[in-house]
């Protein structure tokens, strides 16, 4: 490659790199001056970047650098974080598991406190709860039920494997005093 062509390529890549937006041929010429066959130079530059992690692309007559599409996972790597469910969420989940399909007012009646919108979202995000159609009753409220993912996570063959009230009583889980730190349901809103 000639020295002039090399210098033209260097100028082009610097200008495109530092630009705030993709540049058209006119803007490129204004920055690097008349350099002969600009489209041909841009093609050469794009070729030289093709195998790299940064590539030169044309979009509607404008040129810009971007990262190679196959490397996107390095720019947004995922990380797994273990999160604890809030007590409100665990309770809501248990009510759905024992009573499904169940509507939100029913969950609230059983728990004795209102269910905040975030609680059901978290359970659906966890993949344990799904909307399960509407109840054919006044207001047609949405019903909720558990998912196969719920059974898998808790190692249950089916919902029938959940201990019944009698089992809970026998296991002492019904007679326990409520935990000391249990917030009083003043005003009826959880947490």
């Amino acid at each position: 490659m000639s020295d002039t062509a090399h210098e033209a390529l260097r100028a082009l890549e610097a200008v495109i790199f530092a630009a705030e937006a993709p540049l058209g041929l006119g803007e490129l010429t204004r920055h690097v001056g008349e350099r002969g066959d600009l489209p041909e130079l841009l093609r050469q530059l794009a070729d030289s970047y093709a195998p790299r992690g940064i590539i030169l692309v044309e979009r509607g007559g404008r040129w810009a650098f971007q990262t190679a599409p196959d490397l996107a996972h390095h720019l947004r790597p995922t990380r797994e974080a273990v999160r604890k469910l809030s007590r409100a969420a665990v309770e809501t989940l248990s009510v759905i598991a024992y009573h499904e399909p169940v509507t939100r007012p029913e969950i609230e009646e059983i728990r004795g406190v209102a269910v905040s919108p975030g609680t059901l979202d978290v359970l659906m995000e966890a993949g344990w709860v799904r909307p399960a159609g509407r109840r054919e009753s006044p207001g047609r409220p949405l019903q909720y039920a558990t998912t196969p993912g719920f059974l898998a996570h808790f190692n249950l063959a089916s919902r029938r494997d959940l201990p019944g009230l009698a089992d809970l009583k026998a296991a002492g889980l019904l007679d326990r005093e409520p935990p000391r730190e249990l917030p009083l349901p003043l005003g009826g809103r959880e947490e």
């Binding site: 947004r76 995922t78 999160r83 665990v90 309770e91 989940l93 966890a126 249950l156 019904l174 249990l182």
Partner: protein, 254 residues
Amino acid sequence: MTEPFEDGPPRAEAPPSLVLQLGSWEGPLDLLLQLARTQKVDLAQISILALVEQYLAFIRDARALSLELAADYLVMAAWLAYLKSALLLPPEPDADPDPAEMALKLQFQLQRLGAMRDAGQKLLARPQLGWDSFRRAAPEGLSTETLSRFDTSLFDLISAYGNIQARAQHGVHVVRRRPVMALDEAIERLERLLGASLDWAELVRYLPRDLADESYARSVLASSFVATLELVRQGRAEVSQGAAFAPILIRGRA
């Protein structure tokens, strides 16, 4: 050139030879450094005695011209005058502080300030980001996406349900219905009965008779009295009482 003021007002005579630019020095050390550099030798080889002479001469000239000198210039002048006399005296072995050492330290300070001043200029002469080289104007940015994995055991689940049930058992509180006549009911009833009668009549005549439940009878009386007041307020009834605790009379208004 006969007009005396043609070229502007008369000027004071130019100061002798030394050009005084007070205010352009950043303190006495800065002035000393500028004077030292006029010696045109390496600061490590500077003649402190000559430098002291220059400084004192400068201060003398400034005072002769009645220029106002900041106090620290004068303090430095006094100190340097002391240093000068100490340097000129025959060396005294026990002198404290040792004048030669004081001169060395002054030299060190001038060298250090000179070095920092040069370094600043060299820094500014370097290629600078945003002027000589450029970064990307709008990088996409990196981020890390967090996938949540929820950690809840079957025990957590069933004990939570147990807690709800336990709460329900402990917490049931039923308010027993008390026998009352609601205000709405009393208004509706009184309005119906009054509509037929435009004659004064005692309020008690309009109340249901044979009420076995004492507390219900009191509720009926209270609600009906309030209902009376409400109908009077609406202009649909009139109320009258002859004296305190006398029977209350009401009649309807057409």
